[in-house]
Amino acid sequence: MLQNLVLIVVIVLAVFILMRLTAGDPARMSTPVFASDEILQTYREQFGTDKPLTAQLWDFVSGLPKGDFGTSFRYQEPVFSLIWQRVPETLLLAFTALVLALVFALIVGIAGARWPGSWIDRFGIAASTFGQSAPTFWIGLMLVLIFSVNLGWFPAVGFTGWKSLVLPAIAVALAVMPADLRVIRASMMDALNQDYIRTARAFGVSEARITLFYALRNAALPLVTVVGIDLGYLLGGTIVTEVVFNYPGVGQLAIDSVNARDYPVIQAITILTAMVFVFVNLVIDLLYMALDPRIRIEA
């Protein structure tokens, strides 16, 4: 827990300093190229970037406990509500993609471990090699080309209902699925090779029960871990996919903010992401404990 807190503090500082040191002057981005120094100065005062770095940092940090992430330079709105408006869409996309990827990976991975070399196993390996090899944005573009432009089944851009979710979710799922599938298949194979599986077999426990109950229970541990790792792919994939589909989520906002040097928004997004990461990892630790009694003892 303490480690996680330290982690978040380090992220806050790193993001803050990195933004201030490397990024250009946000005032210049918001004003015409030929703006005078006075105009630039007013903008800087308005943004708060005229103050020394330490003061800016203090302003920023002191607002955090109140949930105040500052005000967007570009929209002149509280950053938190700006992000919050877009969270549901992004969550929806990420969650749908994760479920799609997991369901596919579970079915194909278990079948592949049970019957290695079978058609379903080979299909799974091919699909995951494809997902690993193709850039997510290109998969998005191809989906648009086929299903929107040529077939007209789904809308190409924006968010107008569940149909807008289908193509982006598939694109993100394809980015996440390969890692899941590999881990599930490998850990299932490993579990099926354990002595206690042979024991269960030797005592006449049915194959279905052995696979779905004995082995899967043991394979569930690495699976939980992989979901944690998925998070990175998931968020990365979501950002790119949102751009391709012009999907109104947090990823879009992040890219727009990068281009506009809208520090407070970028800061807030990275910090919130880190918090989500920490939270998910906490859940994973708890899940581990629930799944493996050996860990319960050690904790």
Partner: protein
């Protein structure tokens, strides 16, 4: 001792063939007979083909990849004769009438050079950090691994975008970005293997023989880390190619007029309804090269994983 279900574990060295036959002569046949050897060779062959074509781009195509030709805009590939395709522009032209094939070849060249440079950087960084972390342990290990977690904590692409947007894109910056993208995987895996190996008796034996920590690390442990490094490298390279393309697609990578695969697709996305090939073909090119690397990596993993070699 007790035997296991597999009868072959008993005494692997005992066959007279092993004792007397000159092993060097048959190593190639032996190699081909191993799990994953064929897969690896197929991947290697494909990759060499593509990389060779990209590196020899000026010899293959006569078109200047950057020369606009307004009279020959959006020509389809040669097989679409009705749409105006011809063998002059084998794979058609883009929105500015530039030859797709030569742009793809030159773009691939840039991609590969960048990705390989990034890979070498991340390998050097990651292996060093992983080794230090695993060998030294303690506080230093904890700090380094926190650093790894930190990088994994948020999508790297946001950070990369911020840096690129702030510092003006240059080849150097891009290589550094790519290098920083991959080191965590090397560091993690190398550290893991080192820690695992350090538990083994041969390391303890070396300690008892008086070997220093660094001697043990470099002479005894490092050779066992090599397979893992090779596998990660073949896995990371396609990842870096895709990452570079993604940055270029977002307009943050290689800047025009230098051709890049990601940039081609960014340009092409405005013609998605009229000229499918402008976005499709560069993606396919990436797919081919990354797929060949992933196949290679698969084969390598089977080749180098001793557990898979029993059958």
């Amino acid at each position: 001792m007790a035997s296991t279900a597999l009868p072959l574990t008993g005494d692997p060295g005992a066959s007279p063939a092993m004792e007397d036959a000159p092993q060097e002569l048959s190593w190639w046949r032996d190699f081909l007979g191993r799990n994953g050897a064929r897969t690896f060779l197929i991947g290697l062959f494909l990759f060499t083909l593509i990389a060779g074509a990209a590196l020899a781009a000026p010899l293959i195509t006569e078109h200047d990849p950057s020369r606009n030709n307004i009279t020959a805009r959006l020509r389809p590939p040669f097989w679409n004769k009705d749409g105006g395709g011809s063998t002059e522009f084998v794979l058609g032209t883009d929105g500015l009438g530039r030859d797709m094939l030569s742009r793809m070849l030159f773009g691939m060249r840039v991609s590969l050079v960048l990705a390989v440079a990034g890979l070498l950087l991340s390998m050097a960084l990651g292996v060093t950090i992983g080794l230090i972390s695993g060998l030294v342990g303690g506080r230093i290990d904890m700090i380094l691994m926190r650093l790894v977690d930190l990088q994994l904590a948020f999508p790297y692409i946001v950070l990369a975008m911020a840096i690129v947007a702030a510092t003006k894109t240059s080849i150097g910056i891009l290589i550094i970005l790519l290098g920083l993208a991959g080191w965590v995987y090397f560091a993690r895996v190398v550290r893991g293997v080192v820690l695992q190996e350090m538990q083994k008796d041969y390391v303890k034996a070396a300690q008892v023989l008086g070997a220093s920590r660094w001697r043990i690390g470099l002479r005894y442990v490092l050779p066992n880390v090599m397979p893992a490094i090779a596998i990660i490298a073949t896995l990371q390279l396609p990842g870096l190619i895709i990452f570079e393309a993604t940055l270029s697609f977002l307009g943050l990578g290689i800047q025009p007029p230098t051709p890049s695969l990601g940039g081609m697709m960014l340009d092409g996305s405005q013609y998605i309804a009229s000229a499918w090939w402008v976005i499709t073909l560069p993606g396919l090119a990436i797919l081919l090269v990354t797929m060949s690397l992933n196949i290679m990596s698969d084969g390598l993993r089977q080749l180098l994983d001793p557990r898979l070699q029993t059958v």
